[in-house]
Symmetry: C2
Subunit: 483 residues, 2 copies
């Protein structure tokens, strides 16, 4: 393990993080709010820490490739470091009284989870609310490069599946410099964000709120500068605009790239995308049927709220336009299960990812087929490509680890005195990077009242979930540190 490499990368990231604090600082100056000093201090500490790391570490040469182990350690440590330093503006602000709350909010931001411990959001400094949105947006950028460039290189969790599938924008070697193809996807991400801002402004949403919401839609984050989230506006226009952009954010970004390059049927030709969009349609219709009559008297309203909740949870965004805990059983069961399924691989969404669900289904079918024809050799195919057995093994391992992590974390959280439904809901929402859960962390409540140890645990869950589990868990395997 060449620690100086890792230190240098983290140092560079911290410099960028410090620089990104200029944006909320300007907003603070504009609104004359109380967070100005908080940002100045945070920026100073972050930049100095970054500089120290850079000075102490050696220069990276372009022929110094990072190896797989170092890559994993870098990803996990970088995300943690950014969570810590990104928490400083919260910690120094009067709205926060202790570090764990600030850290929770920061990690929830950078992992694009969107679970919050802030109880009076509208009372907080505007610059702080902007920072909350910005870190989700930056987190989303991190995930795009992570899921389309870094993780395929590290061979983690069956995600290497996408290495072959995505023809152009994935580099074969992870160089210390970010590849050009990642930059193309970032431009796409930025353009989508901009278009959403324009759409929201067009509907009459104030510029500040439109920006904040767009910054948290595209990374499927879900932080809102409003206590009531999107429910605040009670507008069908805003609901559908946000549904549209949540769906776009939940699709593999390389498909957007293919679309732009003229492959108009890219969405349809991709098995995962078909599954993802099909799931949205089927589940929306089921929830509409379930809540029409029992909760909403008009079919239009039922469809509007059904589509929003399904898309918000399935894409792991976590915006709310209503309290789904007041829905009948079927809708609740569907939303709870959506928390585990998640969006597409290669998108900014979390959860298990549709591609893995598809692979798992085909894996099971093959097992049944093998019982009928024991001597048959048949491969699992997705998009007409054979999935190698080691990738399938990795995917099944991922799914098992996901469930195992869910079970273990739920037990730990419940051991801290949290009731069963809240424990299951909070852990599912944090590992899947969704935001709101069930029980006392539902869409109209927040995570503030959870025990301190529980917040640490859930912050860890967000990180593990965001980094595709293997990347973090492997650091706890003694074998990893040998020799």
């Amino acid at each position: 393990m060449r620690w100086h490499f890792i230190a240098r990368i983290i140092g560079i990231l911290l410099i960028f993080l410090g620089l990104s604090m200029i944006a909320p600082l300007l907003i603070s100056l504009h609104y004359h709010d109380l967070a100005r000093d908080s940002f100045i201090r945070s920026m100073g500490i972050t930049m100095v820490a970054g500089l120290i790391l850079i000075i102490l570490s050696k220069k990276l040469r372009s022929d110094n490739y990072i190896n797989q182990k170092e890559g994993m350690a870098t990803v996990a440590l970088a995300w943690t470091a950014i969570g810590i330093f990104g928490a400083l503006p919260f910690y120094f602000a009067p709205e926060f009284t202790n570090f764990i709350d600030a850290f929770f909010e920061s990690v929830s931001g950078f992992t694009t989870t969107g679970s919050s411990v802030m109880t009076n959001i509208e009372g907080a400094a505007k610059s702080l609310l902007f920072w909350r949105s910005l870190i989700q947006w930056l987190g989303g950028m991190g995930i795009i490069v992570l899921s389309l460039a870094i993780l395929p290189f590290l061979g983690v969790g069956g995600i290497q599946l996408y290495k072959a599938e995505v023809p152009s924008p994935v580099p074969d070697k992870l160089t210390p410099r970010l590849s050009d193809s990642a930059k193309i996807l970032w431009v796409l991400y930025g353009v989508f964000t901009l278009i959403e801002i324009i759409f929201l402004l067009g509907g009459g949403m104030p510029l500040f709120e439109a920006t904040c919401h767009a910054l948290t839609t595209m990374p499927t984050g879900g932080f809102s500068p409003k206590n009531a989230s999107i429910a605040q506006y009670n507008s069908a226009y805003f609901d559908y605009v946000i549904v549209l952009f949540m769906i776009l954010a939940g699709i593999n970004f390389s498909l957007h790239y293919q679309m732009l390059r003229g492959k108009t049927l890219a969405f349809w030709e991709d098995t995962e995308c078909r599954f993802f969009l099909g799931l949205i349609i089927v589940l929306t219709l089921l929830v509409t049927w379930d809540i029409y009559g029992s909760v909403y008297t008009s079919i239009k309203d039922a469809f509007r709220f059904a589509s929003f909740q399904v898309v918000s949870i399935l894409t792991t965004t976590g915006f709310a336009t209503t309290d789904y805990e007041k829905f009948p059983g079927l809708s609740q069961v569907i939303l709870f299960i959506c928390m585990f399924i998640g969006a597409s691989a290669g998108s900014t969404g979390g959860g298990m990812k549709c591609a893995r669900i598809i692979a798992c289904y085909k894996y099971c079918y093959r097992e049944l087929f093998k019982i009928i024809h024991p001597r048959s050799i048949n491969h699992v195919k997705i998009n007409n490509m054979v999935i190698p057995d080691e990738v399938l093994r990795s995917i099944m391992g991922f799914l098992a680890l996901y469930v195992g992590l869910f079970v273990l974390s739920s037990i730990l959280l419940a051991a801290m005195g949290v009731d069963m439904m809240t424990a299951f809901g909070a852990v599912a929402a944090c590992i899947g990077n969704i935001g709101p859960g069930f029980g006392s962390v539902g869409p109209t409540e927040n995570f503030a009242q959870l025990p301190i140890m529980g917040k640490w645990l859930l912050a860890l869950c967000m990180l593990i979930g965001r980094l595709e589990i293997y990347t973090v868990i492997i650091l706890f395997v003694p074998e990893f540190w040998k020799k």
Copy 2:
């Protein structure tokens, strides 16, 4: 598919089923209760149906081995047929008003689940209560031969793992005659039942109740002739006696056989048994810690109730001595998770089975190890024996199908208007063959109020869970019926 073979086997089983109705008939005559005619009619119909099947089908010769496909179809159809004919005594009795309730109770019995739709148990005819217990006991006999002789031959769900592990009492070929080794295990099963009856009598339980409880403990069934189940007696002695026999029932029966043949360390040398017993100890201590102070003021009571609920759910028996839904979050989370884990493979218990959980854990560890040492070849070992990759694949497929079945059935049940917690709890309890669930099917409630379609669904879940999923699901794969 040689249907006449299958018909003959089912015919023979129906004759035995009809003969077994003599026992409750005698009890009915002894107590002069109202179920006498019900048993006479049921016996008549069942025997006639059995005879017709035998007459219409060809004679089985000892050289006519059943093939794998026929074996699967036989297992699934036989269990269903027995469920239907075993329901007749309930259907004809005044306590039941419709066939689905009778069928639900019968399937719940034969699959050793123990979920009940009877709301006034103590008001029912004693012979009917005895029948309820007897069918669980007979179901347990079926499971012993199924899990130790039939399924290994069919190669289902990674259970073939035990083929190699169990040296003596597993035959290599499934002949139309039951193997002698299965008979040895049945004797063991009978002796355990007898000893439990003696223990319960020794504590002052009336003979009828002692017999009923022993008949439902050994198959990890959980039907009780008392409305309040074991809570009725409020006796530490009965609680601990039943805990002991539930544990014995949850251990692989071939280990009991090995013990009797002088291998005194058999329990300790078996990885699964160590895991199973260790889990009971750890979870009992956790639940004791959780309910001591919050529910019980004495540590003795806390331990007694904790051990009973943990053992009852983990072994998938389902007896109740208290309402665990009034326990704090940790205990509830633990018990909910126990519903999925289940007892040992080769025992009468249900659920996923400890052996598969161990295999899954080792599978995940191997995946992590592979990331660290990509070129390493390392095998998953249990009991110092290498588990072949195809067995591991089968186990992972089983676990995925189990979860998939749980998810799908929960959605269907919720679509019938059942709330989320009840849907999750009822489905988990039925697939795992446990008995009580959560929500409105908790340990102090029952399944009577569920919608009719929900009862059919749950009865199907019991059958699928009991027959190790693959055996039933495969009948729905079109490929199975080709050629």
